[in-house]
């Protein structure tokens, strides 16, 4: 099984985090609980066990009774577990309808989909002709598509250099604040913009830096020529990065702060006693301690290279123009929803999804090759 969850920031597989011995025992019967030895088994079961052997506790006496593979027969387990299945069902159904069904719906990329061919999208889908890979051929011959791809990759690269390191730096600074009060205050403030919508973030930037914004107003007051970065396509990449920093740099520190708090303080003490300066300790203790998290997040970001955020660009595309602000997601929107050419937009979206999947799998394999824990692992 491959799960991204098992390694999200490098813990143990979470199936192991709870001693798994307890669950089947109680339902098999009270005799199992009374059996000597069940107690210690539960206390230590969490260590070194894997998901697969978690269910039954391998005591010979009970193994025989449970039959194949040490498990209770399916019917008994169903009788025991049906409430769990009932609980999972509504969420599973929603994902089926709003996630997996549209995923299958990507086949309209191979259709000349005509929304007016039927009364409902389903009927229209059934009546639309199949045209093979025509949309993809058009797509790869479309200069606007290549512009969007180039913009997307440029923004990803730019943000890797100018955004990615900032939460690490800020986290180290926050971690070194001695007063818990002050630290808590700064954290509360810097996390806050993460919860603002992009509409709000862009609004704030327009009010501060736009043509009628605070900065222009103050510059006019002192007799300077105001500059308007909100509608300048040449500096757009800097602008979107600044917005991303403002919104998410604080939130990005959380995972690094958690990693910093797991570094053993004795390491710092020992290196200080050995004469390491502040900078040396940062280099030889702090950064190695953060390395797994940094690598993990870097991989996640690389695997997600084709997504640079969407609403941010939708909101500002009109101000700076298509040439600078078109990314793959906005390309899909403006070539399908607004034109009605759904098949073409679906083709662009499918291209992005497939390349994204390949990238994340490749990045993960690369991480395994480096000996790091990846985004997910086989368990």
């Amino acid at each position: 099984m491959s799960t991204r969850e098992t390694t999200r920031a490098g813990g143990t597989g979470d199936d192991r985090s709870r001693p798994p011995g307890g669950y089947p025992s109680a339902t098999v019967g009270a005799d199992r609980l009374a059996a000597p030895g069940s107690g210690p088994d539960r206390g230590t079961a969490g260590v070194g066990r894997t998901d697969r052997d978690s269910a039954p506790v391998r005591h010979g006496r009970f193994r025989r009774r449970r039959g194949r593979a040490g498990r209770a027969p399916l019917r008994a387990r169903l009788r025991r577990d049906w409430p769990l299945l009932v609980m999972v069902a509504p969420a599973g159904l929603l994902l089926l309808v709003f996630h997996y069904l549209p995923t299958l719906g990507n086949v309209v990329a191979f259709q000349d989909y005509n929304p007016y061919a039927g009364d409902t999208p389903l009927a229209a889908f059934l009546h639309s002709p199949w045209i093979g890979t025509t949309h993809f051929e058009t797509l790869f011959g479309d200069p606007a598509f290549w512009d969007a791809l180039r913009n997307t990759l440029a923004i990803t690269a730019f943000q890797l250099v100018f955004y990615f390191p900032l939460p690490i730096v800020l986290a180290i600074m926050l971690h070194n604040i001695l007063s818990p009060r002050l630290r808590g205050f700064v954290q509360t403030v810097v996390y806050l913009p993460h919860f603002f919508s992009w509409v709000l973030v862009v609004t704030f930037f327009v009010q501060m830096f736009g043509g009628a914004g605070l900065l222009a107003q103050e510059m006019r007051d002192v007799g300077l020529e105001p500059w308007n970065i909100m509608s300048n396509p040449d500096t757009f990449i800097v602008l979107v990065t600044a917005e991303t920093v403002w919104k998410d740099v604080g939130w990005g520190t959380i995972v690094f702060l958690a990693a910093l708090s797991t570094i053993d303080p004795h390491l710092y003490e020992a290196s200080a006693v050995d004469g390491a300066s502040r900078w040396k300790r940062l280099w030889h203790v702090t950064l190695p301690g953060l390395r797994p998290v940094i690598v993990l997040l870097l991989i996640l970001r690389l695997g997600d290279a084709l997504s640079v955020g969407f609403e941010q660009f939708m909101l500002q595309r009109d101000a700076v123009g298509r040439q600078a602000a078109e990314v793959l997601d906005t390309f899909v929107y403006y070539n399908s929803i607004t034109t009605g050419n759904y098949g073409y937009g679906a083709a662009a979206g499918l291209f992005k999804a497939v390349v994204g999947l390949v990238l994340i799998l490749a990045a993960n394999r690369f991480a395994h090759a480096l000996g790091e824990r990846g985004v997910y692992s086989r368990s």
Partner: protein
């Protein structure tokens, strides 16, 4: 039976030596301290100054705004006329109701479904556990594009229904994973003993698991609520009827697309200045987040880190 929060009993590493500089550590250099203080002050101000300017301008009178030449930095009086104007009915008032409805109903639906599914998936060894877990986690790797989602939602007849802003985003698998990881940290003995006493799974969830999980429910509830309050693009896709616009959609059309915030422009000179009205709309959009978030924030490390780092 005394039930203790399994996380609260964790050893308090944090307390040791965080308040005081350890004996072996040299005192920081003046330059370093000035630099660090400067950076942190700058970061805090970068967040607070825009909020302050927007708030002060929304409360300023026409004269103050004219004298300042636009945005106001220093408050001179408190004038609620802009707020009276936007709460007098009309588009903004309506949008606030819609957004509140979406947020409350959506968060309730999402939390119930997420908690149920997280509990249902928290038991390794139960029927179809691995398959179901895979089914949920696969959504991280494979996602539908915008176009097929649009076709499905409109095909279900949800165009111009506010459910179109709730149902497609009702389950966040990330939140589900966070909740599930939290549930799995609850000692199994508690659940086993309840089971021996004859409690069914639903009762165990309601009586034992949920009371222990307030922290994670608060955090995940905040994530969902913020998501619903902030919904903008889905409203652009699915809602054409402006009497059903959520607040972000209205904010965007007033401020970024530059439409006039009041369709009743007939009130003449007695109307509060347009800039103040715009800023008042920003303030009412921000304030639910600013007011609720600090109360949940203290749970972040517990609720989020448990899920995100250990999960």
């Amino acid at each position: 039976m005394t039930v203790t929060d399994p996380l609260r009993t964790a050893p308090p590493h944090r307390r040791r030596g965080r308040n005081r500089r350890p004996a072996w550590e040299e005192p920081p250099s003046t330059a370093g301290q000035v630099f660090r203080g400067g950076v942190l002050t700058g970061v805090v101000l970068a967040v607070l100054v825009p909020l302050w300017v927007v708030l002060v301008t929304s409360l300023a009178s026409r004269q103050t705004i004219n004298e300042a030449g636009g945005l106001v930095l220093v408050p001179r009086e408190i004038d609620f006329s802009a707020y009276r104007a936007i709460f007098a009915g009309g588009l903004v008032t309506q949008a606030l109701w819609i957004s509140t409805l979406i947020t409350v109903a959506g968060t309730a639906v999402s939390l119930v479904l997420t908690v149920l599914a997280a509990y249902g998936l928290s038991r390794p060894g139960s029927v179809a556990h691995r398959g179901l877990l895979f089914y949920f986690l696969l959504t991280f790797l494979i996602y539908p594009g915008m176009v097929p989602s649009y076709l499905v939602v409109t095909g279900l007849g949800l165009k111009n229904e506010i459910w179109a802003l709730v149902l497609p985003t009702a389950i966040s698998v990330f939140n589900l994973v966070v909740v599930r990881a939290f549930f799995q940290n609850i000692p199994a003995e508690l659940l086993d003993s309840a089971r021996i006493d004859g409690a069914g799974e639903f009762r165990i969830l309601a009586r034992i698991v949920l009371p222990l999980s307030r922290a994670v429910i608060a955090v995940v509830g905040l994530f969902y609520a913020v998501g619903y309050w902030n919904v903008w693009f889905n409203a652009l896709l699915y809602i054409d009827d402006n009497s059903k616009f959520p607040i972000q959609r209205v904010l965007q059309s007033f401020i970024l697309a530059g439409q006039s915030p009041n369709n009743a422009g007939t009130l003449g000179v007695s109307m509060p200045p347009t800039l103040a009205i715009k800023m008042a709309v920003v303030v009412v959009t921000v304030s639910p987040i600013v007011l609720v978030y600090p109360f949940v924030q203290r749970h972040f490390v517990k609720g989020v880190i448990i899920g995100a780092v250990k999960g």
